[in-house]
C-alpha cells in the first residue's frame, strides 16, 4: 500500500483510540480535572509522565541534532534525563504530600504570599506557552509532509483532537490518552531503530548495535567508521566534542534543573494516590524515557553514516525519492557549485541563511534558491529536524514503518501539548481566579472556567502553530532557563529549609528570573551578532545561563531570609508535615 494510505490508516486509528479514551475518562469534579482524582496507578503515571515529557522535540528533533553535533549531543541526553533524579529525590514525594493542585499553589501557600503566587503563575504561563507553540508546529510538519495537507489544516485537526480530550477529560482524560500515546510513540521510535540496527550491524538492539562492528564484514566498529567518514568530509570526529567543558557543564545543569522545575511535569506527581507512589512513578517515568533516550544516540549515529553514504557524491538525478520529497517541503536544498551534477557534502554551510526557494528548477531539475553561495565545497543544506522522519526512507524500510513514524511523531506532539494546555488552564482557573481574584466561586463554576480557559489556550496555541513566531527555537532556552532559575530553587528551599521566608523566596525568584531573562534577551534578541564565546560571561552560552541564574536565586534568597523575619510557626509545621509521608493526624 502507498505510504499516504497507510499513514491515514495509522493516524486515523490512533486518533479514534484517543477520543474513545477521552469519552471513557470524563472529568466530573475539579479534583478529576486537575489531578485525575488523585487515583492514577504509579506505572500508568510513569507512562503518562514519559509521554507528557517527550515532546515533538524529543521524538523528531533530538536524534537529528545529535546526528549533526556528535558527542556534544550529550547535553540533551543527560540534561533531559538527569533532571528526573532531582525530581524524584528532592521534589516529587514532598509535593505529593503537600497534595494541592499546582506549582503556584505550593509557592503561594509555603511562602504565605499572593504576590509569590502571582510571580509563579506568570512564569508558568510563559514557560508553558513557549513550549506549546513548538508542539503545534510539530503537528503541522508531520501532517504536511506525510498526509500532504496544508500545515494549517494539520494544525486545525490537531487542535480539534486535543480540544476534545483535554476539555472533556481534564487531567483524567489526558492521563489515559498519554498512556496510549506513550505506547504508540515508543513503538514508532523503536521499530525503525531496530530495523536499521540490524541492517547496519546485525544486532537487533540499537543500544548494542551502536557499539558493534559493521555488518559488511569489514570488522570496523560503527563509531570508528563514523569518525573516519566525518574527518574525510572535513567535520571533526563524531566522538569528539566541540563545546567548551564549562559550557557543557552549565548547559547540562540548566537542562537538568529546568526539567525538574517544569510545571507540567511536576503536576503529574500530584495525580498518584500516595507519597511512595510518587517516588516509584518517577522511577518508572525515567525507565520509559530512558528507552527512547538511549535509543536516540544510536539512531543518530546510524542515520549519520547512512546519510553520508547515501548522499555524498551521489548523482542528483538518481537520488531516491525521499531526497526530492524533503526538498519539496523546503527542508533540503542543493546548489551544484562545481556543475558536475553530483552532490558534494562536506563541513561548512553551503550558503548563508535558510534556503529561499525560487519558482524555477535548475539544470538537473533541482529547486533553485536565491541565497548567496559560500566559497567552500559543501553543496548541501539539510534541516536537522528531518533525520528521524526521513531515516526509515533513507534506510529503505517498508512503507508501514514510515507511516508508523508519522503516527508516533503526532503522539509525541499531542501528548505534550495536552499536558501543557492543562497546566495553562489550571493556572488561570485555579491559581488566578479561585485563589486570587474570584475566591467565592463554587467547584462547578471553577470547573467551567477551567474548561473555558483550556479551550482558549488551545486557540492561542493553534495560532502559534499556524503562524510560528520566528523565535520558537530560541525560546526553548528561555523555558528551561526560567524554570531552572525560578521554580527549582524556591520549591527546593521550601521543602529543605524551614527558615526560608516570603521575602527571601520572592527576591530570589525575581533576581534569578530577571538575570536569566536579560542575558538570554540580550544575546538572542537584542544583539544576536554578539552571541559568541568571546562575549559570553565565563564562556557560558545563553542555553546554560539558567544555571548561574539558579545560583543567584539561592544566594539572594538565603541572604535576604537571614535579615528579615522568620516564617510563622504554622508554616514551619506545614514543612514538618510535608517531610514525612504519613498524614499529620495519624489517620
Amino acid at each position: 500500500m502507498a505510504i499516504q494510505t497507510l499513514t491515514f490508516i495509522f493516524v486515523g486509528v490512533t486518533f479514534v483510540l484517543y477520543i474513545g479514551i477521552a469519552i471513557w475518562a470524563r472529568a466530573g469534579t475539579t479534583n478529576d480535572f486537575y489531578i485525575a482524582g488523585g487515583g492514577v496507578p504509579p506505572i500508568a503515571n510513569g507512562m503518562a509522565t514519559a509521554a507528557d515529557w517527550m515532546s515533538a522535540a524529543s521524538f523528531i528533533s533530538m536524534a537529528g541534532i545529535i546526528s549533526f553535533i556528535g558527542r556534544d549531543g550529550a547535553v540533551y541526553l543527560m540534561g533531559w534525563t538527569g533532571g528526573y533524579v532531582l525530581l524524584a529525590l528532592l521534589l516529587a514525594p514532598y509535593l505529593r504530600k503537600f497534595g494541592k493542585y499546582t506549582v503556584p499553589d505550593f509557592i503561594g501557600d509555603r511562602y504565605y504570599s499572593d504576590f509569590a503566587r502571582l510571580v509563579a503563575v506568570v512564569s508558568v504561563l510563559f514557560v508553558s506557552f513557549t513550549y506549546v507553540a513548538g508542539q503545534m508546529r510539530g503537528v503541522g510538519i508531520v501532517f504536511s509532509r506525510f498526509l500532504e495537507v496544508e500545515i494549517t489544516t494539520g494544525v486545525l485537526i490537531g487542535m480539534a483532537i486535543v480540544f476534545f480530550y483535554a476539555v472533556l477529560g481534564g487531567m483524567k482524560g489526558i492521563t489515559y490518552t498519554q498512556v496510549a500515546q506513550y505506547c504508540v510513540l515508543i513503538f514508532a521510535f523503536l521499530v525503525p531503530a531496530v530495523f536499521i540496527s540490524i541492517l547496519m550491524t546485525g544486532n537487533p538492539i540499537p543500544q548494542l548495535g551502536f557499539g558493534s562492528t559493521l555488518a559488511d564484514n569489514s570488522n570496523i566498529y560503527l563509531l570508528d567508521k563514523l569518525d573516519q567518514l566525518s574527518m574525510e568530509l572535513g567535520f571533526t570526529a563524531y566522538t569528539v566534542g566541540n563545546k567548551s567543558t564549562i559550557d557543557m557543564f552549565f548547559i547540562t545543569a540548566a537542562l537538568m534543573v529546568g526539567t525538574a522545575g517544569l510545571p507540567h511535569v511536576i503536576v503529574r506527581f500530584f495525580t498518584v494516590p500516595k507519597v511512595r507512589d510518587a517516588r516509584i512513578s518517577a522511577g518508572y517515568a525515567l525507565v520509559f524515557i530512558a528507552i527512547l533516550y538511549t535509543t536516540a544516540p544510536a539512531l543518530a549515529s546510524f542515520a549519520r553514516v547512512n546519510l553520508i553514504n547515501t548522499v555524498n557524491n551521489a548523482v542528483y538525478k538518481e537520488t531516491p525519492s525521499w531526497f526530492k520529497n524533503w526538498e519539496n517541503t523546503n527542508l533540503i536544498a542543493w546548489v551544484d557549485k562545481n556543475q558536475d551534477g553530483k552532490i558534494q557534502y562536506s563541513s561548512g554551510k553551503a550558503f548563508s541563511g535558510k534556503p529561499q526557494f525560487l519558482e524555477v528548477r535548475g539544470l538537473e531539475g533541482e529547486r533553485k534558491i536565491s541565497n548567496l553561495s559560500t566559497s567552500n565545497k559543501n553543496e548541501l543544506y539539510i534541516d536537522r529536524d528531518i533525520m528521524v522522519l526521513a531515516n526509515p526512507e533513507i534506510a529503505n524500510l517498508p512503507n508501514w514503518v514510515i507511516a508508523l513514524v508519522a503516527a508516533g511523531g503526532l503522539a509525541a506532539a499531542l501528548s505534550t501539548a495536552a499536558g501543557l494546555l492543562l497546566v495553562i488552564s489550571t493556572s488561570i482557573s485555579h491559581d488566578l481566579l479561585k485563589k486570587i481574584f474570584l475566591k467565592d466561586i463554587t467547584d462547578k463554576q471553577e470547573l467551567f472556567f477551567a474548561r473555558v480557559s483550556a479551550g482558549f489556550a488551545i486557540v492561542i496555541a493553534g495560532y502559534f502553530g499556524i503562524h510560528p513566531p520566528g523565535f520558537v527555537a530560541q525560546v526553548v532556552a528561555f523555558a528551561f532557563g526560567l524554570a531552572a532559575s525560578s521554580f527549582f530553587p524556591v520549591i527546593f528551599m521550601g521543602i529543605f529549609s524551614k527558615s526560608m521566608n516570603r521575602e527571601g523566596a520572592i527576591s530570589g525568584m525575581i533576581i534569578g528570573l530577571s538575570f536569566t531573562a536579560s542575558y538570554i534577551i540580550y544575546f538572542k534578541f537584542m544583539n544576536p551578532s554578539a552571541n559568541s564565546i568571546e562575549n559570553w560571561w565565563f564562556g557560558i552560552s545563553p542555553e546554560g545561563i539558567g544555571t548561574l541564574g539558579m545560583l543567584f536565586n539561592f544566594i539572594v534568597a538565603i541572604l535576604v531570609s537571614r535579615v528579615t523575619t522568620a516564617p510563622p510557626e504554622k508554616i514551619k509545621d506545614m514543612v514538618d508535615d510535608i517531610r514525612i509521608p504519613r498524614s499529620g493526624d495519624a489517620s
Binding site: 566522538t239 547540562t252 545543569a253 517531610r579
Partner: protein, 106 residues
C-alpha cells in the same frame, strides 16, 4: 500534628538527607564527572566498540540515573518502615483529607 515534630521524625529526616546526599553525589559523578569533566581521560579506555567517556556521556549516565532512583525508592520505603511514618498499606484511594483539609487546618 505532634507526630511530625517528634524526635523520631527528626532522625528520620536526618537519615533521609544523608541518603539523598550520597545518591546525589553518585548522580554528579556519573554525569558531570564522567560525562563532562573527565570525558577525555576516560576516552582513553575502550568499552566494547565505544570510547568509555563517550559511552558514559551518551548512554551510561542514563542507565545510572535509573538505578539511582530505584535505590532511592527501595531505601526510602525501608526508612519509612523503620520509623513507622509510612502510609497505611493497601489503601488505594486518594487521600481526600490531604486535598481538602489543608486550608482549614492552617
Amino acid at each position: 500534628m505532634n507526630n511530625s515534630h517528634s524526635p523520631q521524625a527528626k532522625t528520620y529526616w536526618k537519615e533521609n538527607i544523608r541518603l539523598v546526599s550520597f545518591l546525589l553525589f553518585l548522580w554528579f559523578v556519573v554525569s558531570f564527572g564522567m560525562g563532562i569533566l573527565f570525558v577525555d581521560v576516560l576516552d582513553g579506555f575502550r568499552f566494547f566498540g565505544f570510547k568509555f567517556g563517550f559511552w558514559m556521556a551518551q548512554q551510561g549516565s542514563i542507565f545510572c540515573f535509573v538505578i539511582i532512583i530505584f535505590i532511592y525508592v527501595y531505601k526510602m520505603n525501608k526508612l519509612d518502615q523503620k520509623y513507622g511514618v509510612g502510609e497505611v498499606q493497601g489503601r488505594f484511594a486518594p487521600d481526600n483529607k490531604n486535598f481538602h483539609n489543608k486550608g482549614s487546618k492552617e
